[in-house]
């Protein structure tokens, strides 16, 4: 009964120990614990990430800066456009009004001068016989000379004589004919009449007739006289109004048709910029020809708008490009930081280009490495402390009772006559010894005894170890060889070093149960250290196992405790050395123990 209680207590302790050890086994488990606590936060972040990119800082910056750039630009363009249009309109109106008045006067003066000439002629041609179909032959050579003098004026094509009914009776020169059909558009000009213009024809230019008014006293008695005027002389009066081609000048003549300054008929335009009545039925139109005036303005406006659109597009592209790049860089940083935050301290932070971003990534990378070292160091300390407490507890709570049990079982075994019982008790003793060994190992790991350093010749050491394990190796068909020179002497605790090397060789032998044929023990000097290595050509280890192989209680063997290498590392460290494992999966493993070389002065 008492034994069963002890066994239960031992089992319970081992379960507790296992559970604690399993907790300590993997630092990732700690991180996972942290991660589980952060799950709520992570889900919030994911929500933020998926909630659209519009809340990103770079995106906000993009739209805000665009707004700041575009609102003044659009405002400026609109104001400038309005101002420019109004300016052109005002300038044109102001520039036109004065010359239009001058041209109106010039037009009237031209006609008035012709009217005076007409009156002078009428005074000379005072015989009613002149106003008959045969009047041409009734005039004297002096009067004919007068008529020739009159038609020498380039703006006067000829002179026409009308009878009392207003019918044309003859013209001078006679080839200058007047068609009755051209006498339909009559408009008063002071005390004369302006008739025409004659219908436009491609054959010859149009003419107008300035005739004495029918109300004139002399006309009632004898007929009237008229000057056949060059119509283009009237249109040419307005040539100076063209403003260098910026406006079109049209004369609405007595026939209600429009003519340009060179006498070409022009389409009737319903609206004109400005118009001025020259005399009844004759109107001057000045038109801002959209093709001549507004085209350059419109073209300028379109260029302005195009420039603005290009600016907008350019800004948009620039901001989007910067925003995308910033987003990409920040995203990369966030990913790296999130990996660290989620416990992945192995993946290096991706380097981002750009001076500031590069510095930031470097800083985060340094932070990751420091955090990684800190966590490992903290875990190692905690683990060591926990194991120390555990080992002390085991020593007190398990080892002492076990000693009692062992002594009791031995005593009982000696008195036992029944061979079967004695055999069972022997098994109990063996198991108790095995438990003791485990406890011994645990204590060695948790609280290794202080090393007692001596000068150790590596060749002697390695050869003696080979002698010890040579038989086992040979049984497995494995060749165990030593490569060491005599002069290599280390300064370390012989027991510790032997334990380390034995552990390593036994591990190698176990690893070579499937594959491999050679174990090589080698000692070489490197600076102030001596590297003692155990190499095998066994099955090696994959990277994931290699990453944890040094951790206590980590084992791939079904019956292993996972303390072998951890104890080796602890013992090497207590002797001022360190352990390094290099393994290639399916090719073999090499474990190197770096130990301090003994100096000449050091002695036992």
């Amino acid at each position: 009964m008492h034994g069963s209680i002890l066994a239960y207590a031992l089992f319970t302790k081992i379960i507790v120990f296992r559970s604690q050890a399993s907790l300590l086994n993997d630092e990732h488990s700690v991180i996972r614990h942290i991660r589980s606590q952060e799950t709520g936060i992570s889900s919030d972040e994911e929500l933020l990430q998926t909630s659209t990119s519009k809340n990103r800082l770079a995106t906000k910056y993009l739209w805000l800066s665009l707004l700041v750039a575009l609102v003044p630009l659009v405002g400026f363009a609109s104001l400038y456009d309005t101002y420019f249009s109004q300016l052109v309109s005002r300038l044109t109106e102001q520039q036109l009004s004065t010359p239009m008045a001058a041209k109106q006067n010039e037009f009237r003066v031209f006609l008035r001068e012709r009217k005076y000439e007409l009156q002078a002629l009428a005074d000379q041609f005072d015989n009613p016989d002149f106003y008959t179909p045969n009047g041409r032959y009734a005039i004297s050579s002096e009067l004919e000379g007068l008529l020739r003098l009159q038609v020498d004026t380039r703006s006067v094509y000829g002179v026409v004589f009308f009878d009392q009914k207003g019918q044309v009776v003859w013209t001078f020169p006679e080839e200058q004919t007047v068609k009755p059909a051209s006498l339909i558009h009559m408009h008063d000009f002071e005390d004369a009449e302006l008739i025409g213009p004659s219908a436009y024809s491609i054959e010859r230019p149009s003419s107008v007739i300035l005739r004495q008014s029918g109300r004139h006293e002399s006309s009632e008695n004898r007929g009237s006289i008229g000057l056949i005027l060059r119509f283009n002389s009237l249109t040419e009066v307005f040539r100076g109004l063209g403003h260098g081609g910026s406006v079109r000048v049209l004369l609405q003549a007595g026939d209600d048709n429009m003519y340009d300054v060179v006498g070409q008929p022009s389409p009737i335009i319903s609206t004109s910029t400005q118009q001025r009545t020259l005399l009844p039925g004759w109107i001057l139109h000045v038109i801002q020809d959209p093709e001549l005036v507004m085209m350059p303005v419109e073209a300028m406006r379109y260029w302005l708008l195009l420039l603005m659109a290009c600016t907008v597009a350019g800004l948009l592209w620039l901001h989007m490009s910067i925003s995308r790049r910033l987003n990409r860089q920040v995203e990369s940083l966030i990913d790296s930081v999130e990996k660290v935050a989620l416990g992945n301290l192995e993946t290096p932070v991706a380097i981002v280009q750009g001076v500031e971003m590069h510095r930031l990534t470097q800083a985060i990378e340094r932070m990751r490495l420091q955090l990684k070292a800190f966590i490992r160091s903290t875990l190692a300390i905690e683990r060591q402390a926990t194991l120390g407490q555990l080992a002390a507890g085991l020593a007190h709570d398990i080892r002492n009772p076990l000693t009692t049990i062992r002594t009791t079982v031995a005593a009982l075994s000696r008195r036992e006559r029944n061979p079967e019982s004695r055999e069972m008790m022997a098994l109990v003793e063996e198991e108790i010894d095995r438990v003791n060994d485990v406890l011994e190992n645990l204590l060695n790991f948790a609280r290794p005894r202080d090393p007692y350093a001596t000068r150790l010749d590596t060749a002697e050491l390695l050869n003696s170890i080979v002698t010890l394990v040579g038989a086992s190796a040979r049984n497995q068909g494995i060749k165990l060889s030593v490569d060491s020179v005599d002069s290599l002497v280390i300064w370390a605790d012989e027991g510790h070093i032997r334990q380390i090397l034995m552990n390593l060789i036994l591990n190698a032998l176990e690893a070579m149960s499937v594959k491999g044929s050679t174990i090589l023990l080698r000692a070489v000097k490197s600076a102030n250290e001596i590297k003692v290595s155990v190499s095998d050509d066994g099955q090696g280890m994959p990277d994931d196992i290699q990453a944890h192989i040094m951790e206590p209680f980590y084992t791939t063997k079904p019956a292993g405790t996972g303390l072998g290498l951890a104890i080796c590392a602890t013992l090497a460290k207590s002797n001022g050395g360190r352990l390094m494992i290099e393994s290639i999966d399916s090719s073999g493993t090499k474990v190197t123990v770096f130990l301090p070389a003994a100096s000449e002065e050091e002695y036992e």
Binding site: R154, I202, E203, E236, D260, Q264
Partner: protein, 410 residues
């Protein structure tokens, strides 16, 4: 240089000033007949008068060099100042004061119409040497009017043939887009009328885009150039002449008109006066013609005329010189053939059947009078302006000739 100086001295020596009037040829006492010539001697058309005087001087040299005796002729000159009233008055003065039987000259067609009317009234012969409106030789012939230079109808007949031959366009489906700009007086109207008449006869299909009528002696053609540039045209036909044509081309050079459309002046554009006045500013490739060319035909008679004119005056002749030369030769020849006491009817008969060999006649061709309209029939040469500095200050002369004889083109 010495011979030129001698020539000028000789010219001055043979030109006498009687009162306010110039005279050339026989003295008043020796002269069998007196001819009164009307030319503008001053102002924008003054060169025409001066060249005509020199041309008449050459005519006397030519007559003198003939193996037969011609009746002595005295030529009086009067400046019309390009005014019809003055020209008409001068005709009457010539008739009444100088007993002239022949009037010659007159550059402006409108003035010529009135001069012809007065000459008819005064029953003196008017030998036109410079004006070209076909009105005077169209319809019923004026019994006292004869013309010894090509008229607008002849020039435009050749022009229509040239257009039909040279321009790809002109079919019913693809009509020639035409613009016309001519001086706003009878010559401009007649030239345009004649061109359309002969384009129709030559069955050239055309479409009139615009017709422009700047006044004579216009100084600013910018609005007319704008109007021409405003239209899509294939050919601009221009019938401005003298200083007007020079001013037009100078101003057109400042625009893209000559790239915008082909440019042609079929009656007077190739006048040496225009070529020399423009010098290096005359563009190449313009289609021009004239009533006389210094570089065509390359006959002995033409070479003598041009070189002798140069010796006398120090400049090359415009077509006015050859027109006046022809006029005096025509009067001299008619008088010689009619005899010393011939009446007007006989003289008219001789003038109407006249044949003259003139500087502008190509080899094996002599100008001849058409008795039906009293218009001398002559060959017409149309060419393009090409670089040629043989007649400075002109830098462009006509080349790439196409020749049209009265019976039709060569």
């Amino acid at each position: 240089m010495i011979s030129r100086m001698f020539g000028i001295i000789l010219l001055l020596a043979t030109i006498t000033v009687e009162g306010a009037e110039l005279s050339v040829g026989a003295s008043e006492a020796e002269a069998q007949e007196t001819v009164g010539c009307l030319f503008p001697m001053s102002g924008r058309g003054g060169l025409y008068g001066r060249d005509s005087v020199a041309g008449i001087q050459l005519a006397f040299e030519h007559i003198k060099a003939q193996p037969y005796q011609s009746p002595p002729i005295r030529v009086l000159f009067s400046d019309t100042s390009s005014k019809a009233s003055k020209a008409a008055r001068q005709v009457r003065n010539f008739v009444r004061q100088n007993k002239v039987r022949f009037i010659c000259g007159v550059v402006n067609s409108s003035i010529a119409l009135q001069v012809a009317q007065v000459a008819q009234e005064e029953k003196v012969f008017f030998i036109g040497t410079d004006h070209a409106s076909s009105r005077l030789t169209g319809g019923e012939p004026n019994r006292f009017y004869f013309r010894v230079n090509n008229n607008s109808e002849q020039s435009m007949r050749a022009a229509a043939s040239y257009i039909r031959k040279t321009f790809i366009k002109g079919s019913a489906k693809n009509p020639l887009r035409l613009a016309y700009i001519g001086p706003d007086y009878d010559y401009g109207y007649q030239a345009w009328k004649d061109l359309r008449l002969w384009l129709n006869k030559e069955k050239v299909h055309y479409q009139v885009e615009t017709v422009l009528w700047p006044e004579l002696y216009e100084s600013d053609y910018s609005h007319y150039l704008e109007a021409l540039l405003d239209k899509d045209v294939d050919l601009v036909v221009n019938s401005l002449w003298g200083g007007d044509l020079v001013a037009f081309i100078q101003q057109a050079n400042q625009t893209s008109l000559f790239e915008h459309a082909r440019f042609a002046n079929f009656d007077t554009g190739g006048n040496y006066e225009v070529l020399s006045a423009l010098g290096e500013n005359m563009p190449a490739g313009l289609i021009l013609s004239s009533r006389h060319h210094n570089n065509w035909p390359e006959t002995e008679h033409n070479r003598w005329f041009v070189e002798r004119f140069y010796e006398l005056t120090g400049r090359y002749p415009s077509y006015a010189a050859e027109g006046a030369y022809s006029g005096i030769l025509a009067i001299s020849e008619a008088l010689r053939l009619a005899g010393p006491d011939a009446d007007n009817d006989l003289i008219r008969e001789k003038l109407a059947s006249l044949t003259l060999t003139l500087p502008e006649d190509p080899d094996q061709f002599s100008s001849y009078m058409n008795p039906r309209n009293h218009q001398l029939q002559q060959a017409i040469a149309i060419g393009e302006t090409v670089p040629d500095d043989r007649y400075p200050p002109a830098r462009m002369m006509l080349g790439n000739w196409v020749i049209y004889r009265p019976a039709g083109p060569d």
